[in-house]
Symmetry: none
Subunit: 293 residues, 2 copies
């Protein structure tokens, strides 16, 4: 057996084969090490993404929840003062408020009739009173009155809608979607005296420039948006909540917003046009949305 081995090529030239084999083994080993690093970075990125991009609910940990509920630096450092409850209320209370809220309709056709900026400012101030996780106030309200910028915003959004439209055709939704053919045109983006673009701040910066996580920034900013809608209604103005999410990055860079801000919603604000029409919708009855225990 040994003699057979002694005659084998491997044996005669082992000084060549052994180093070659070592080299090959080393290559395999290092190659896989690279792949491992690639995968680690990949899953790291996915986790990062969760933390930063609005998916608060997904990313939330029990520590986050506790910080949200209890561990609020801003609260910690403040004195506590007596509070005896609401001092400013609405004559007629909730019943009167409901009449006002129920009078709101989403409007898609606007008059160019001007609106004083002070009214919009009071509406945004009202939105800014909303509650937020650990009082982070993670919102930015961009108010656009410049005709040029409104046109640029309209261009970005209509271009995107047109893109959506052609993509849908590929999906053979032709029949369902044919009524939309012309709907990618959105006059309201240039007709309305104001556009409000609401950005959620996914994180903030501490004095030491370290990132400060903004818990529930999406829920908080959406709640503030609900207060904004109520303020807009109280002023007798109309609006339309839209979510041009696929335009978010383009609109963000158009307005030079920082990396921690992500577009949540865009709403035109103004008066309806004289020929404005709204779908003859009804809302769910109280019994369909409320359950008593």
């Amino acid at each position: 057996m040994v003699s057979a081995v002694e005659q084998s090529v491997l044996f005669q030239y082992w000084q060549i084969f052994l180093p070659l084999f070592l080299l090959f083994a080393a290559f395999l080993y290092l190659k896989d090490k690279k792949e491992i690093e690639a995968f680690t970075n990949a899953s790291k990125k996915v986790r990062e993404h969760n933390k930063l991009d609005g998916a608060d609910l997904v990313a939330v940990t029990e520590e986050d929840i506790d910080q949200e509920d209890e561990f609020s630096p801003s609260l910690e450092t403040k004195d506590h003062v007596p509070f005896s409850g609401a001092s400013v209320t609405l004559p007629g209370g909730a019943k009167e408020f409901y009449k006002m809220a129920n009078d709101r309709r989403s409007v898609r056709k606007y008059s160019t009739k001007p609106v004083p900026i002070e009214v919009i400012e009071d509406c945004v101030r009202s939105a800014g009173t909303g509650p937020s996780g650990a009082h982070t106030e993670p919102w930015t309200f961009c108010v656009i009155s410049s005709a040029e910028i409104k046109q640029e915003i309209r261009d970005i959004i209509e271009q995107e809608e047109l893109l959506n439209y052609t993509q849908r055709m590929h999906k053979q939704w032709t029949t369902d979607l044919s009524p939309l053919k012309t709907n990618h045109v959105k006059e309201y983006l240039t007709d309305a005296p104001y556009l409000i673009l609401i950005f959620k701040q996914t994180y903030g910066l501490r004095e030491d420039r370290k990132r400060k996580q903004h818990y529930y920034n999406e829920i908080s900013t959406s709640i503030a948006t609900g207060i904004l809608l109520s303020a807009i209604q109280s002023a007798g103005l109309s609006s339309l909540i839209t979510t041009p999410l696929n335009c978010g990055p383009a609109l963000r860079s158009l307005l030079n917003r920082p990396a921690n801000e992500k577009l949540l919603v865009l709403l035109p604000v103004g008066y309806p046009s004289d020929d404005c029409k709204v779908p003859d919708l009804s809302r769910k009855d109280l019994s369909e949305i409320m359950v008593k225990y």
Copy 2:
């Protein structure tokens, strides 16, 4: 040199060393393959998770966005009627609304003073007027006045908070979190005359029992929550937005809510207790939250 090699131990016992080396190389190779698989599965799971848990924004596709903006079955089938704008507004307009909104404080200590259910009903009705993706109205408001159920809810939440607390201790946050030691006790859950648990409906059911996707159900329900807060304020009542997320499933089954409903927020509603105190917070100035273009 060769003779030196010939006398070397490696040469004399190469039949032993070579197989041993091969075995070692193979071991390294397979070991890393395993690690690679581990990493792949890990990042897969993270992605899955995003898809599943109500992360509407993350999951949203351009088709969704288009359906949200334009393709709304409910709108399609309805006639369009003229709309001349808001008819019910607030005397004093947005300025007056801001005074009311700015008067709101999050209250953690409640009086047991009763509140008529009709007031709560008008607040929930108001919330139900909020806009929603394709008019899906994807919300359910559970109003709890039963002392027994309030106690059960308090038990679930306090138990969870205690759990959080002990887990945090493991994390050596002792110093930071020591002030929280007693804070897992939440009297407001049983003192307040009402608890409102707001559920987002992640999907609905068509007549043909097929699932009907609820676009942006989280944003829509959060906006409705903001309108609810405004209504509560208009009635002179106080509340506290909390997000007991880690309790969601337990609370959902306690209230027998269907699988398509996920808890978004829980708020006690009532009057502050006589000894109620709130942190002496200030809100961001308008210049910090609003940018004009």
